[in-house]
């Protein structure tokens, strides 16, 4: 590993109880803890998940379930990230 580049982590997210963790993308982080925190910020900004795994080569690290409420609930109240939060006058099309 080069001194300057962080390793690449694959991110898996379980969107709902009862569903599988699903691969959503990747990111770079120096270690598993930061990879999980960055994955939370990058891939669950719209309450897309309740659990995260990050994988570097052969290792799998899962997010701490006891953190679930401070991990995911804060984005519940950020309704402005959804288009339906905005009023557009009648007759406006293609938006």
């Amino acid at each position: 590993m080069s001194n300057k580049e962080w390793p690449l982590w694959e991110v898996f997210i379980r969107s709902k109880q009862g569903l599988n963790h699903k691969h959503v993308g990747s990111l770079r982080a120096a270690d598993a803890t930061l990879a999980l925190e960055n994955a939370r910020d990058v891939y669950t900004r719209r309450s897309e998940g309740i659990s995260i795994w990050v994988v570097e080569s052969n290792y799998i690290h899962a997010s701490d379930p006891s953190d679930a409420d401070s991990f995911f609930e804060p984005s519940d109240t950020k309704v402005y990230r959804h288009p339906t939060f905005y009023e557009v006058p009648d007759g406006v099309k293609h938006m």
């Binding site: 300057k4 990058v42 900004r45 719209r46 006058p89 938006m95």
Partner: protein, 315 residues
């Protein structure tokens, strides 16, 4: 590898494309296909990141807390888009930091629109409406791109983008229904951003030599001019609802074609801006370089800490 094999591989590759089967990272692909994608996706990623700057510069000045939060969330999304795209570029064997270095050295390009300044609050609404609107027009088409990771990234990005355009339009509705100063501010922004927004679709089809191959490989589904026309057709009625005038005396509905006619684009300006002579090219690249330089010691710190900790574990 024998020539016969290569021809056979290329034939099979094209058959997959024709049958709408997605190409995945480990599948065989022609070198040129890989190169084209690396160039296009990294350019797209750079555009997301550089695109944070003109709007980011208004976060501290947003006129109320709701708009401040909306703008923060919007610009933050662009950082996320940049990340998704860098991660799809990495599936092609390119290295994120190396592609970023190409941006900083001027070797790699990004969307020319972000070299224009955002000087008033109305520019923020206008960027959301026109610039994100034009980007969405492009990106929706890319959701069906033949390269799997890029197409999937685009689906996620498009879902997030729709709030970007709506928040911009909503902000302009407020200005256009506000005081005369506010309305004038909106019109002024429209005057400055209309033409650069149309330029976002790139050179006309007859000036765009790589387009045919990209269409054949289904990296692209529509030509630059087709997308530009769709954008004009969708946007003109939206401007009418706002009561804003589009700065083009020749803009008019053409009954025969079922599209709006508009004036020719100033391609001279386009190429000047692409090649470094836009009003903000230098500031944009300087800001990104500075961010990377200021981040080096942070990167190194986290790497050093991770190494120390794994040594402790194995000790």
């Amino acid at each position: 590898m024998k020539t016969m094999d290569l021809q056979e591989l290329e034939k099979r590759f094209q058959e997959k494309i024709d049958k709408e089967i997605k190409i995945e990272p480990n599948d065989w692909m022609p070198d040129e296909y890989r190169k084209t994608l690396i160039r296009q996706i990294s350019q797209h990623a750079h555009s997301e990141i550089v695109g944070m700057l003109p709007e980011g510069n208004w976060i501290t000045r947003a006129p109320n807390l709701r708009r401040k939060a909306v703008l923060l969330a919007k610009v933050q999304d662009e950082a996320g888009h940049g990340l998704y795209l860098y991660s799809s570029v990495e599936t092609l064997g390119a290295d994120r930091e190396a592609t970023i270095d190409d941006l900083h050295s001027g070797k790699a390009k990004y969307s020319s629109i972000f070299n224009y300044p955002a000087v008033t609050w109305a520019d923020i609404g206008t960027i959301g409406w026109l610039v994100d609107g034009a980007a969405i027009m492009n990106q929706v088409a890319l959701c069906r791109c033949s390269y799997g990771p890029y197409a999937r990234g685009m689906v996620k990005i498009c879902k997030e983008e729709s709030f970007h355009q709506r928040q911009g339009y909503e902000s302009l509705v407020t200005l256009c229904n506000g005081t005369p100063e506010q309305k004038a501010m909106a019109q002024d922004a429209m005057n400055r951003f209309w033409w650069p927004a149309l330029m976002m679709f790139g050179p006309s089809d007859d000036e765009s030599p790589n387009s045919a191959q990209s269409m054949k490989w289904k990296i692209k589904r529509f030509s630059n001019d087709e997308l530009r026309q769709s954008f004009v057709d969708a946007t003109v009625p939206q401007a009418e609802i706002l009561g804003l005038t589009i700065p083009d005396p020749n803009l008019k509905w053409n009954e025969a074609t079922g599209h709006y006619d508009f004036s020719p684009i100033n391609w001279d300006e386009f190429w000047q801006v692409v090649n470094g002579n836009g009003p903000c090219n230098k500031e944009r690249i300087e800001a990104r370089k500075k961010a990377k330089e200021n981040g080096m010691w942070v990167r190194e710190a986290a790497t050093a800490y991770a190494a120390k900790r794994s040594m402790k574990k194995t000790a």
